[in-house]
């Protein structure tokens, strides 16, 4: 073991890292209670609850958030379905080309977003597809697909697939086996991956810049532009609310998983 001094040093460094990670988040939360002077909510003035009482004051901001939520929902559903199918094939079957598929899944993660964004813009330009909500959805679902397939694959690897055979041996039909054994085993991993996709899509700015039309204002695009226009405290309010909301969802999913894990899949 590391000596007690080394141990203390590592502990301090780790705590420092976590503080760093949360410092800007603290700023966001604190500044949601600020009463700014002028157009930019960047200098602390005084405490107010006003912003929280009027979170939807800025129409443009509200519609940008709603637009992003819709895109994120669509993208995570498309990526969730397609990615899970790919993961199932890779874990449950051995087939020619499997390792190529593995490689194809990793490539989008090792390609800078600026490259994917500009190349997608060219594709849509070549095809004569006008850039708009649809092209944003397609682009987001593409990079989310990789994340879903890889995370679900990792989860499926750890499951005990002999349970399926056991169910069949005990006389369950294939459909019933799927419904009562396979599906419940697979679902928590898929839900987690889709949540991740949702937040990735919600937050994407670089690719979105290239594949969105002039008038399509996603939440990140709005925030980017707000740096030249006006940074209203409502941006901080809605961000804080979304943070609390997603943490709540995460907590719920943990509780839900704990509860239903009566059939505990073994670890590989």
């Amino acid at each position: 073991m590391t000596g007690s001094w080394g141990r203390r040093l590592v502990g301090c460094a780790a705590i420092g890292g976590f503080v760093l990670l949360f410092a800007p988040i603290a700023v966001i939360v604190v500044f949601s209670f600020n009463d700014p002077v002028g157009r930019y909510n960047l200098v602390w003035q005084r405490f107010t609850l006003d912003n929280w009482l009027h979170p939807f004051e800025r129409d443009e901001l509200t519609s940008a958030v709603l637009f992003s939520l819709r895109i994120a929902a669509g993208a995570s559903v498309v990526a969730g379905v397609l990615g899970t199918l790919v993961a199932l094939a890779l874990v449950r079957h051995r087939f020619r080309g499997g390792s190529l598929v593995d490689l194809l899944l990793v490539l989008p993660l090792t390609t800078p977003e600026i490259v994917m964004g500009s190349s997608l813009a060219l594709l849509f330009l070549d095809l004569g597809v006008e850039r708009g909500p649809l092209t944003i959805l397609l682009a987001h679902s593409m990079f989310c697909l990789s994340f879903v397939a890889l995370t679900v694959k990792a989860r499926l690897r750890g499951l005990d697939w002999t349970l399926e055979d056991a169910a069949m041996d005990l006389g369950a039909s294939p459909w019933r086996t799927f419904r009562t054994v396979t599906f419940p085993m697979v679902v928590p991993g898929v839900v987690a991956a889709m949540l991740l996709s949702f937040s990735l899509s919600m937050d994407d700015v670089i690719i979105t810049f290239f594949v969105s039309g002039e008038g399509d204002s996603t939440f990140p695009k709005y925030v980017y532009g707000s740096f030249q226009r006006e940074l209203a405290p409502q941006v901080h309010v809605l961000s804080t609310a979304m943070l609390v909301g997603s943490l709540g969802l995460l907590a719920l999913s943990v509780v839900w998983q704990r509860r239903r894990s009566t059939v505990r899949p073994g670890r590989a």
Partner: protein
């Protein structure tokens, strides 16, 4: 794994098909378009169908005009990756070894920032690094600013609009991508190995250097890639935190493509960026000897 009957041999392809087609159409085909466009010429600014003619001059222009920004991007991303490693390793190690029952929750904290807007977090750094803020005042008092000036990384008496702020922003934004893979590789290490080192009279440091570090190399590899690659192409941090003298290649591509409408030029830069990154990744893999760990 259960045995599959002959009729089911198609099943994996049916499962994989839609996803692969999706990535083919929206990832691979566009890369081809990018390559073709990088060798095309536009007759005018509003020529939306540039002619393909093996026009390598676009590539020549990149080095001539944007060599500085390209070099700067790799430098910034490299320093940020190193900083992420230095900051992230203790975090991952501490949670993996001393986290105990709370390991999962503690490592979960690392992804919490993902649930707030990446842009707004970056903008928040302008508040933290403000000229009369705590960080700037503390670095001034402790002589850190003077030190940075001596190295030529900042000019004046502030941190905002300097390369230091941009590298700091990149480090901050991609830190979770370093910590998570490091944690995954550190978590797998059998803690009894460390006890064994102690029993064999290895000091803490040599146990770390000879046992823990080699076993965590896959995490170092994956984490560095997941940090370095997005950091190289990023333009958000340079936009919010850097001045005109710290523009990165991402800013150039964005401007060329979306503002100047010079798609061939932008395509050449993008394609070149990808090639250089791929080469860098291969060299890095060779150095670490972890070629089989890419997946």
């Amino acid at each position: 794994m259960s045995t599959r009957v002959g009729g089911r041999r198609l099943t994996p392809y049916l499962l994989v098909g839609p996803g692969v087609a999706w990535l083919g159409v929206f990832f691979l085909v566009p890369l081809w378009n990018l390559f073709v466009m990088s060798l095309s010429t536009k007759r005018s600014r509003y020529d939306f169908d540039p002619a393909f003619r093996w026009d390598w001059s676009n590539y020549g222009d990149v080095f001539g005009t944007y060599g500085t920004q390209l070099g700067r991007s790799f430098l910034f991303a490299g320093v940020a990756t190193l900083a992420c490693l230095v900051i992230g390793y203790p975090m991952a190690y501490w949670v993996a070894v001393h986290g105990g029952r709370f390991r999962a929750a503690l490592i979960g904290l690392v992804i919490v920032p993902f649930f707030t807007s990446f842009l707004l977090r970056t903008i928040s750094w302008t508040v933290l690094l403000a000229d009369d803020g705590v960080i700037v005042r503390a670095s001034r008092a402790s002589g850190v600013l003077a030190l940075l000036r001596a190295f030529g990384w900042i000019n004046g008496d502030r941190l905002l609009d300097t390369p230091v702020a941009v590298v700091g922003g990149l480090t901050y934004n991609f830190l979770p991508f370093m910590v998570l893979p490091l944690y995954v590789s550190l978590e797998k290490i059998d803690i009894r190995l460390l006890d064994a080192c102690g029993d064999l009279y290895a000091s803490g440091w040599s146990a770390f250097r000879r046992v823990v570090l080699p076993l965590s190399l896959p995490g170092v590899f994956a984490g560095s890639l997941l940090t370095f690659i997005p950091a190289t192409g990023d333009f958000v941090n340079a936009y919010f935190l850097g001045g005109t003298s710290s523009r990165m290649i991402g800013n150039v591509v964005q401007d060329r493509f979306l503002v100047q409408l010079d798609q061939p030029g932008a395509a050449a830069i993008s394609f070149l960026l990808m090639l250089v990154i791929t080469a860098a990744v291969l060299v890095y893999a060779r150095v670490l000897g972890t070629e089989e760990m890419t997946s």
